[in-house]
């Protein structure tokens, strides 16, 4: 079984957890559905469209939940993270967003920065509360 963690950034707090907590219950359910599925699937079998290894992006990768429809339209959620941290069967979330951009440069950069903070001990992983 795989485990999922959030990131606790010095001065910012549990950024992905806080992002997740303010989503609608429907959006949270959709993300949870994705995580439940990936939890039992060996990481070597994680593939698109739900998992994107983001080749060439410095080690970060992306999880994509299915679209969520609401009165405001259709939303699309993604979480950038680091596969294999803190151990080989773990995935640590670095940045969550609902930006529907083909190439979310800003989001990826933020995730990379947080990964660096994690590895420099300026941030810690924490149990992700669903």
């Amino acid at each position: 079984m795989n485990s999922f963690f959030g990131i606790d950034v010095r001065g910012e707090g549990r950024v992905v957890q806080e992002w997740f907590n303010q989503l609608t219950p429907e959006a949270q359910d959709e993300i949870l559905n994705l995580l439940l599925h990936l939890q039992s699937l060996p990481m070597g079998l994680w593939r698109r469209p739900e998992y994107d290894p983001l080749d060439g992006e410095g080690g970060i990768s992306e999880l994509r939940a299915a679209e969520v429809s609401s009165d405001d339209g259709v939303a699309f959620y993604r979480i950038y993270g680091w596969k294999g941290y803190p151990d080989t069967h773990s995935y640590t979330f670095l940045h969550g967003t609902d930006k529907d951009e083909k190439n979310d440069i800003q989001g990826k950069e933020r995730a990379k920065w947080r990964a660096e903070q994690l590895f420099r001990d300026e941030a810690r992983h924490h149990k992700f509360d669903i």
Binding site: M1, P25, D29, E30, H37, Q39, L45, D129, I130
Partner: protein, 165 residues
């Protein structure tokens, strides 16, 4: 909020979790079966008698498709030389399943045809004492699906309750 509380919210919420998990699992299993056999999507389509190989990726192996027919699933099982089981189960069993919790399986027994609903299982006030499954306090164990099952070898809450009764 916790996973169990999410399920407890409504019948619709439960149905959606089941549907989503099933759609994803079946698509990934089909893809794994094809990979294991070393077949391309084109070869697989041919073996299954599917006209266009795009239907393998767009439908059978698509985790959001969700319209696999029993006929197709049986054909896939036969083609890949594996067994197929489709059954209805109580939510408690499903929770164990999706959270990777060890579960004692008695196989085909009387209980197989007597499937309690979510309400029967978990809304304890409406359940006769002798049928009460878990101790309610232990239901919180399901609240973190990501903790539950990891490295666990001991029985789940329902089994613990049954053993201590």
């Amino acid at each position: 909020m916790g996973f169990f509380r999410r399920l407890k919210r409504s019948k619709d919420a439960r149905a959606k979790f089941v549907e989503s998990h099933l759609d994803k699992s079946i698509a990934f299993q089909i893809r794994s079966l094809r990979d294991h056999a070393g077949w391309t999507q084109g070869v697989f389509a041919e073996k299954l008698g599917i006209k266009h190989q795009n239907n393998v990726s767009a439908r059978l192996e698509n985790p959001t498709y969700g319209k696999h027919s029993l006929t197709t699933l049986k054909k896939i099982a036969a083609t890949c030389d594996v067994a197929l089981v489709v059954w209805f189960i109580p939510f408690g069993r499903w929770l164990d399943w999706v959270t990777g919790t060890p579960h004692l399986d008695n196989g085909l027994s009387e209980g197989f045809y007597n499937i309690p609903t979510f309400g029967d299982e978990f809304e304890l006030a409406s359940v006769p004492a002798e049928k009460m499954r878990p101790q309610s306090a232990h239901l919180d164990d399901y609240d973190s699906a990501f903790d539950y099952g990891q490295g666990r070898t001991e029985p789940n809450p329902a089994q613990r309750a049954a053993e201590s009764a």
